[in-house]
Amino acid sequence: MDKIGLYSFTGCAGELLTILHSEDELLDFFGCAEVKFFLMAQSNNEEVNLDIALVEGSITTDEQTEKLRGLRARSKTLVAMGICACFGGIQAMRRGDGGWEKRFKKIYGEALLEVDKPFESQPLDALIKVDHYIPGCPMDKGQFFSALTRLLNGNPPSLYRFPVCNECKWRGNECLLLKNIPCLGPLTAGGCNAICPSYSLPCVGCWGPVEEANVASEYQLLQEKGFSGDVVTRRMKTFGGVRMAQLIKDVKKV
């Protein structure tokens, strides 16, 4: 039986909670693999070599970096779960703007922190090699269990690679962009069952950018609809982390 471990860094623990809240699957989950580390769920945790490490949260201190490197070294496969681990999370929304030290000081002042050298939020793959990504904020439990099952069978996860709009149309929703509502559906990875647009709320991009996000066109479209460049950029960067910061930079270069 495969040995797996679930680890958490900086974030809200949304992914681990998503797993814990999957009552219907929990017995199968604990039965399908040897769960060696899952602080939130069990007391007899062991730091051992793993077949699969499932990691949530972004990296924000030297101490975490070291821990993550160690985890990588003793895991055959490492999976980033949730947008904090995949892209840096909400705490990376100002990436590329500069001034992190100033912002950090504004919040924490001169207080002595019990953390070893903090820095601006980094996704896991800025520091180590990540084998697979399960985006979401939090991730969808269906996608998680489907990915895990495939991994346990020796296959890579096969997640949806299309934007939110696909599932949005499956559900027969009217496009919010046509109603001048700043929906980020076309830029955002699908798999959430288009939950927000299904309640007439615009997508805020919480699953991070879809592979082929056409940021330039959406930017122009929203500006034509009367939204200022700053507002659009801020919306895109809220959940998009380093990946969105890079996409925006690429657009500005052109």
């Binding site: 699957e25 199968d28 989950f29 039965g31 399908c32 269990f145 489907s146 895990l148 099952t149 495939r150 346990l152 069978n153 096969s158 690679r161 299309f162 934007p163 709009c165 696909n166 149309k169 499956w170 559900r171 027969g172 929703n173 009217e174 496009c175 962009l177 046509l178 109603k179 559906g185 076309p186 830029l187 007439s200 592979e211 082929e212 056409n214 330039a216 066109s217 959406e218 122009q220 479209l221 034509e224």
Partner: protein
């Protein structure tokens, strides 16, 4: 084909009388959009023609469904739960769409998942008046001669009802006194007059003459790059298109068990992954290439193979694309006509 007459007040009684044939569905107004919904209560229903945002393909080719369950012993198709359905208010353009899908899914070997649903669906067509974006006259899909069980033409005071299948005949026989067998010449004159009036009010009268040849000459047109730059690759045009039918297939394995389901869901040639093959090679890496594929398929390739375009002129892509990439703006641009559209700004 038999044609009958029905007084308007009889329609509700008729639809109530055929409930035994299956769930009754129709297009309802949800405030911001028209959608297919079950018609459990007809007392408030107005029986007016409406174009649903998602065409009736969703009944035969659902957006997402389980094809079969499997385990280590074999598999079992999930075809038992499919309900019998009667769909009222299917518009001529959408019937043309279904006829195209019938041809594709019905070709050898026929697709059992589509065919089973098609078999269990009764189509009650309804004549329409064109909306702002309809171009069905330009695609010659504004009239329909097959593909329905009954077709109701609304002539203000009464309906002319064409019986298009033996199933349709069965429906009529439930309460034959709701129909008048004897048609007079003036009834058909009235229909011809109605059709003439109706045909004169199509707002989009686009000329598709020689479109396949124009497509052929447009292979290197700068239009493709231009629309490719602005396309959001959201795939909405393909989801709302009555003839788009591409799908992806995914196996969903149960955790820790030797069983699972095979899921089929709508896919779109506008997505990058669609044209990706093993080892990561992509035949249509650029959006412009994917758009070109879609338009050449609709307006050129299909004509060469089946003698007509696979655009049925419903105008849904015109209503749906947030950046104005649709069959009208693209065809116009390829013909060198001026186009006012987001993608052209």
């Amino acid at each position: 084909m038999r044609v009958l007459k029905m007084q308007k007040e009889n329609l509700m009684v008729f639809l109530e009388s055929i409930r035994g044939f299956g769930e009754l569905w129709g297009v309802v107004d949800k405030g911001n959009r028209f959608v297919f919904d079950k018609l459990d209560d007809l007392s408030d229903y107005d029986f007016k023609p409406r174009k649903p945002m998602i065409p009736p393909k969703l009944f035969m080719h659902p957006p997402k469904f389980s094809m079969f369950r499997f385990n280590e012993k074999g598999y079992e198709a999930e075809l038992e739960e499919i309900p019998n359905r009667v769909i009222f208010g299917v518009l001529p353009c959408d019937i043309h769409g279904l006829l195209i899908l019938d041809r594709l899914f019905g070709a050898e070997p026929p697709d059992p998942y589509y065919m089973k649903r098609r078999e269990k669906t009764i189509i009650l067509g309804l004549s329409c008046v064109p909306g702002d974006t309809c171009l069905a006259k330009a695609t010659n899909t504004h009239v329909v001669e097959e593909g329905f069980d009954l077709f109701f033409s609304d002539l203000d005071d009464y309906y002319l009802v064409w019986v298009g299948s033996s199933k349709g005949d069965d429906l009529v026989r439930v309460q034959p006194d709701l129909f008048e067998e004897k048609l007079e010449y003036k009834d058909l004159e009235k229909f011809i007059e109605w059709k003439k009036d109706r045909d004169s009010c199509y707002p989009v009268d686009f000329d598709f003459t020689a479109m396949p040849d124009i497509m052929e000459l447009s292979y290197n047109s700068p239009v493709w790059e231009k629309i490719g730059e602005k396309c959001l690759a959201c795939g909405s045009c393909t989801m709302v298109c009555p003839t788009c039918n591409c799908y992806d297939v995914v196996d969903r394995l149960a955790l820790g068990k030797f069983e699972g389901i095979r899921e089929r869901h709508w896919d779109s040639c506008m997505y990058k992954e669609y044209s990706m093959v093993a080892v990561g090679h992509n035949f249509r890496e650029a959006r412009s290439q994917r758009l070109k594929l879609w338009y050449t398929h609709k307006l050129q390739g299909f004509i060469g193979q089946f003698g007509k375009p696979s655009c049925v002129g419903c105008g849904r892509c015109v209503e749906t694309c947030p950046v104005d990439i649709n069959v009208v703006t693209v065809a116009k641009a390829l013909k060198g006509e001026p186009v006012e559209a987001f993608w052209n700004r």
